[in-house]
């Protein structure tokens, strides 16, 4: 049974992420009163990109080519550590949340390096911004994970998001709620979503994440897109388990889990539709705010 669930989760990890992008886009188009692209459009895009060839600038080196591959690999490995629907992850050990956070960091590092490798001042600016904001988002993510660790009394992601979590809501409800709020903000920032960044923007001066990947094409771009959707799925999975982590029995909790991920995607779409992008100088404020919330949550648990 547990084996079946693990297989299901790995399959979901590989297959579902582009669907989340589709759901986000569909939500946005409904808010805008458009018909919008089909739900499966991201899959078609990926298929199209994978069939194309790639063009590489002569100034780039292997670093540029390695960027998308390392990025995707790192995010996918992070996915292996993530427990879904209350079942243990494929891989888990005490302290694996540190590895989880740093695998995400590695993916960002590879992308930023690839962007710098192009030698374009423009992409360098994007990389600088991305890393600046990441340096603020990372402590917040760690603080949130610490809150989970403290509330459940375990040090592995499988434990933090495992069976102890629903019980922790009774004893540490306010702290977990704060952590969930902070985590949602971090999810928006990490995935380059409004109000931090706009994935659809092509206004050069305001881009953050998108500007870094302008020079990638074909399969490389497909990897990057797929990696981004995977990352969105990872955050959706944590939040879904944190907020919807109820339900007895395997079937109920699995159903709730996938429902939660879907709700998360809709939520991101709603935020993107109703909010405007923040000015770049205000972004650190948002991220520090998320850190402050998680510090407060931690203080509530430690007192």
């Amino acid at each position: 049974m547990l084996f079946l669930r693990t297989v299901l989760h790995l399959a979901a990890l590989l297959a579902l992420p582009p669907l989340l992008l589709g759901v986000v886009n569909r939500t946005k188009s409904i808010f805008a009163g458009r018909v919008g692209p089909p739900l499966l459009q991201p899959y078609f895009d990926l298929a199209k990109l994978l069939r194309k060839g790639a063009v590489y600038s002569r100034t780039t080196t292997w670093v540029f080519r390695a960027g998308p591959v390392v990025g995707l690999a790192a995010v996918a490995s992070a996915g292996l550590l993530l427990s879904m629907g209350g079942a243990p992850a494929a891989l888990s050990f005490a302290g694996d949340f540190v590895l989880f956070a740093y695998l995400l960091g590695l993916a960002r590092f590879a992308t930023a390096l690839a962007a710098l490798d192009t030698g374009s001042a423009f992409e360098g600016m994007g990389a600088a911004r991305e890393v600046t904001f990441a340096s603020l988002a990372e402590p917040a993510l760690f603080l949130c994970l610490l809150v989970l660790a403290r509330a459940t009394g375990t040090l592995s992601l499988s434990g933090m998001l495992g069976p102890a979590l629903p019980g922790a809501w009774g004893s540490a409800g306010p702290a977990l709620l704060l952590a969930a709020m902070a985590l949602f903000v971090i999810a928006l920032a990490e995935n380059s979503r409004i109000p931090v960044d706009d994935p659809n923007t092509h206004l050069e001066l305001t881009m953050i994440h998108e500007v870094m990947v302008l020079d990638h094409g074909g399969p490389d771009l497909a990897f990057i897109l797929y990696g981004a959707s995977l990352k969105l799925f990872l955050f959706g999975a944590i939040l879904s388990r944190l907020v919807f982590g109820r339900g007895d029995g395997a079937l109920a909790s699995e159903a709730l889990f996938f429902l939660g991920v879907l709700v998360f995607a809709v939520g991101v779409g709603v935020v993107e539709s109703v909010m405007a992008r923040l000015r770049i100088v205000r972004v650190p404020q948002l991220l520090v705010g998320a850190s402050v919330l998680s510090v407060f949550a931690l203080v509530l648990l430690l007192r």
């Binding site: 704060l178 705010g289 919330l293 509530l300």
Partner: protein, 215 residues
Amino acid sequence: MASFVDLVFVLVVVIDLFLLASSRLGAAIRTVAIQGALLAALPLLLLRETHHLGHAILLAGGALAIKGLFIPWLMFRAIREASIRREMEPIVGFVPSMVLGAVGVALAFAFSSRLPLPDAGAHAFLVPTALSTVWAGLLLVVTRKKAVSQVLGFLVLENGVYVFGLLLSDVMPVMVEAGVLLDLFAAVFVMGIVMFHINREFSSLDTEKLSALKD
């Protein structure tokens, strides 16, 4: 139930932190109104056998009417008449003031359990919430430049005092009502802005321009 009361206290503190970071006056006023409404619910949520129900209802109703509705309405009128919407960069920036606020909150929550409370049954979050709210209010008053923001800071400060007053509601109810009286003071204060029309004299509610008097 206990967890729900926890949540109200925590939300009050989150609102303090939000206000320290917020630059839009309209949003800030609305948030202060929400905080006022949350505080108005507290006397009823914290009701115990030793308290008078009538007194709690009176307090809750009064707080809701003044903190939740009347003062926000006045404030909205003030910013509409002066047609201002944003705080400018404050004396201490938004991020530093938020971090300062968070430090205060952390200290309040970490150490308040050491304070000797005569009433052992009091809610554990009450004193730290009161102290952090007072601290946030002080920060707001001291660091902001617009008259409206300073009044908002004063309201937050006074909300903190009110929360603390709830601790005394069975010992000396009259004193707690004096706390609500402080609101009336604030109301007059707010009307002062409208009446005195700082904007008419100075064409904005910016207290930076109130700087003719100095040594």
